[in-house]
Symmetry: C2
Subunit: 283 residues, 2 copies
């Protein structure tokens, strides 16, 4: 079946209902376009696990704050389309907009949206949760695929689907990295060659943390301080946060214990990057 | 087909997908049970307009405030079931609960939830919008039927479906009244015989307003004052509000113009009742 490009929510809902009528399970990969190998891995996994696969490409304005990169966010539809086709998608949902003239109702993510990335990006997760609710309502997938790179986003969406009974399985997928370890991101293309090298410090700090934790270190403040030093060595890197938190509640930990998320956000030049690692059942 | 009673969101979603696979359109009537002729009219209309009809019966805790009548709200499942069957429903969705242990994500209705009933019931419309989002996600109807008696609720839900792309048509249905004019409500059964008589003043005030508007009156304060006098004549009636507002924004009007909602809420004894009327294209 040729790849379809669907432009309106009504047409996408119609296609989804047709797939359901045909007895097909539906896999869904929501993206903002500017697709890279991370996205491709999600589409390929969706392809393996479902009868029909939809990819959405929509740069969602409500998850960008004032002064963020909404207008300059990369739009590369023609390349995205080829990648979707090669990865086996059946449909691209690429609406011009998902918002009416005067939207008044949003999804409130509560305290989950106030910590980590939410500290420096107020309203970001409200925008994410709202657009994901819309997309899941329109596409009505059996499974939706999200990368673990956006760890807080993944947590918010898992909670969202549970709390609003959105009726699909959220499938978390591994971070895909460049050969030198940099986590794939649509924003990596903003980096100058010098910034690109410096950006490796995020992964370096996380690797350092993994080594220390494997050796028995549990003191969060000590780890945070040492990771911060690694970032501070790079002249164009400005740390936003290093967080060692409970992987479910995102509450700061003094000592690492149980399921732990270690997340970093930093500006490399003017480009904000994130990366993370996690530990299970630490004692 | 015999009436099915479905107890879990997973089973209801399964049934809804089965209906869709069978090519059936789905009509949905969400209720809190304690069904009366108003609800029955919604079910009968859904029956006429759809291939499959689901009625939900769930007293939603998040739309009740502290001190409100959640615990004493009438639960009359056996009678409700008979009424659903007689009206031609295919399924009753009657979950024990729709909330997990620690819900963290809700639907925020913004300023629409702060006026009229929202003034004396803070959080009420947030609870309504959240549960309706859940129910629509689980039942996935083509059409959902709501009575106009809950005018603000209807407006919130119309906006909700638009703003979150919930993909169903909201069908507003006329208020059903007792022979003497009292709007049907599950809460009417709380009224003592004397309160029952006094409760007619809501309808009397609205009728008065209709007569005056037909005669050309447009001064909202004047109408409000005269309607309040009608309520004040009853010893056990305590006015909550009389609102003459824009039917779309719910903003107070000084002069009636365009589409106008006139809504009343009052306590009759300890029972809170609402009623309303509306005007189109007033000039």
């Amino acid at each position: 079946m040729a790849l379809q490009v669907v432009k309106t929510p009504a047409d996408m809902l119609k296609l989804s209902k047709q797939w359901t009528r045909d007895g097909k399970s539906i896999g869904f990969v929501p993206t903002m376009g500017a697709l890279h190998a991370g996205h491709v891995s999600l589409i390929e996994r969706a392809r393996k696990e479902n009868d029909a696969v939809a990819v959405s490409i929509y740069v969602n304005p409500t998850q960008f704050g004032p002064g963020e990169d909404f207008s300059k966010y990369p739009r590369t539809f023609d390349e995205d389309r080829k990648l979707c086709e090669a990865a086996g998608a059946d449909a691209i949902f690429a609406p011009d907009t998902l918002y009416g003239k005067d939207p008044r109702i949003f999804v409130d993510v509560g305290e989950l949206g106030d910590v980590l990335c939410g500290m420096s990006r107020p309203g970001h997760f409200r925008g994410v949760a709202t657009v994901v609710t819309k997309l899941l309502s329109i596409v009505r997938p059996d499974r939706a695929y999200f990368g673990k790179k956006d760890a807080q986003q993944l947590l918010v969406i898992e909670q969202l689907v549970k709390d609003l009974d959105l009726g699909c399985e959220i499938v978390p997928c591994p971070i895909v990295r460049e050969p030198d370890g940099l986590a794939m991101s649509s924003r990596n293309r903003y980096l100058s060659p010098s910034e690109r090298k410096q950006a490796l410090c995020l992964q370096k700090a996380l690797k350092y943390c993994e080594t220390k934790v494997a050796a028995g270190e549990r003191d969060a403040m000590k780890l945070m301080g040492e990771m911060a030093e690694i970032l501070q060595k790079e002249p164009d890197v400005e740390m936003d946060y290093i967080a060692l938190v409970d992987a479910h509640t995102l509450v700061d930990l003094k000592r690492l214990r149980g399921n732990v998320l270690v997340a970093i956000a930093a500006k490399v030049g003017s480009t904000r990057l994130i990366d993370n690692t996690s530990f299970k059942n630490l004692s």
